[in-house]
Amino acid sequence: MGVADQPDSQWPAEGFDIEDLAGARAAGRPVYADRHLVITRTQHPRGLRFAGEIDVANSEAVGASLAFAFPEFGDPHLDLSRLSFCDISGIRAIVEAAGALVHARRLLLHGLPAQLETVIKVTGWSEMPSLELCHCGEQQP
């Protein structure tokens, strides 16, 4: 998709934290990758690690990754410590994945950036029983 007609100026080309993403890619075959987001599997605990940024351009892909990547038993874990931005559509994808869990399973979020935690609270999503905001060994930027 191109930018709208007759902009007064073009967006400058920017780096997308390429080193970070390259590191995440090297850690294993990603479940999903685009220019500014890489999703990889984690084994201990079992779940997914996100590195980069989530917005409306890739939140659908995030939802799809979440839908098929979870093991059938146990609580899935998401490592968000290398997520540098996540918009409401991204949080919605995570919330919907948590809502789809059955049999008292919970989705545990680790390394949640402080701003993201605030947004989750302000937008009324922090009370979901199947979503847990973990503060165990939290990594802060």
Partner: protein, 336 residues
């Protein structure tokens, strides 16, 4: 038509009270509060800290039956006031108790932009509560310190007016339907030379980088910059999702504020869309709600050509983001 000043309403009663000096303020509010206490109603007073102190003193022990909240906090961004009143009404839905409130959203120190939004807020109260359960909201106006046109507008946004001892129906009241009409009050033009940039889904990331650079370049802290970029991104995402896939952004410095305006071709008509607390349902819209919780002021204009959203972030930390997880936060501010 003359009605008794404080009769039990059969519908939402939105009433302005004009006062000149603190003695008139007390005369205009304390009997209203005492009547509520006598009728075992839930009474919430959202006023300045100074006026709350004064009311507590005048009410004495009775103040213990009244809930108080600081308007400088609740209403720093006027779009957060209606949700606070909705929490108050919802909280007492089951109890069957009568309800009454006092709220003074407009004071002398409001900026011109805040004043416009406060006036819109006063009209939207009619929309938010006009068809719901009956209760009374009294809105004091300081005639000594507010321009005459603000008082005239109060007569348009309030169905009832208490002036001195007489309460009457306001001849100028615009009604619920007109209160909900498209809001297109003109916004002041930014200074000359402000750049406009276009964006779509693919350029949101570059847009965020641009906003971060601009805000930090203006000396805003990392915390406030992240807050701003989060809000801008949501409004821009609305343009991408509902505004024909694209929009335009302008950003500039105005006094101690950072302003960002997003324009798109999307048209929305829901007058309360920016101040409706989302439920836990995943699909509920949240973008403008979040912008109002993160920013100091959000101005939404619904034009025939599309939608304009102007976000304001103040450099000095005004009363900060109210993380309201429990809608009963207002109880927390109540008297012991």
């Amino acid at each position: 038509m003359t009605a008794s000043a404080h009769s039990l309403p059969r519908k939402f009663r939105h009433q302005a009270v004009f006062y000149s000096g603190l003695a008139e303020f007390i005369n205009g509010t304390v009997p209203f509060i005492r009547q509520g206490i006598a009728a075992a109603e839930a009474v919430l007073v959202v006023e300045s800290a100074h006026k709350i102190d004064m009311l507590r003193t005048v009410l004495g022990q009775a103040a213990g039956s009244v809930m108080f909240a600081d308007m400088a906090e609740v209403g720093a961004n006027p779009a957060r006031i209606i949700p606070a009143w909705q929490d108050f009404v919802r909280e007492h839905e089951q109890s069957g108790r009568g309800l009454r409130g006092i709220g003074e959203p407009i004071w002398k120190g409001r900026t011109p932009d805040e004043l416009v939004e406060c006036q819109r807020h006063e009209s939207l109260l009619n929309v938010a509560f006009g068809h719901g359960r009956p209760w009374t909201l009294l809105c004091p106006y300081d005639v000594d310190n507010l321009p005459a046109e603000v008082i005239v507008e109060a007569r348009r946004s309030h169905e009832f007016v208490l002036d001195g001892m007489s309460c009457s129906q306001s001849e100028l009241y615009r009604g619920i339907e007109a209160s909900a009409s498209r809001f297109d009050a003109p916004l002041p033009e930014p200074p000359p030379g402000v750049r406009q940039v276009a964006f779509d889904a693919e350029s949101l990331l570059a847009l965020r980088r641009h906003v971060v650079r601009f805000a930090t370049g203006c000396g805003f802290s990392a915390e406030r910059t992240i807050r701003f970029v989060t809000a801008v991104n949501e409004v821009a995402s609305n343009s991408v999702l509902h505004g024909a896939g694209r929009g335009r952004l302008r950003m500039w410095r105005g006094g101690l504020s950072l302003l960002c305006e997003i324009t798109d071709a999307g048209v929305f008509e829901k007058s309360l869309a920016d101040r409706t607390r989302p439920s836990a349902a995943a699909r509920d819209p949240r973008g403008l709600w979040l912008a109002n919780q993160l920013c100091d002021l959000v101005q939404v204009r619904m034009l025939p050509t599309g939608t304009v959203v102007r976000l304001h972030l103040y450099q000095d930390a005004r009363p900060q983001l109210h993380v309201v997880e429990d809608p009963r936060h207002l109880e927390g501010a109540s008297a012991a």
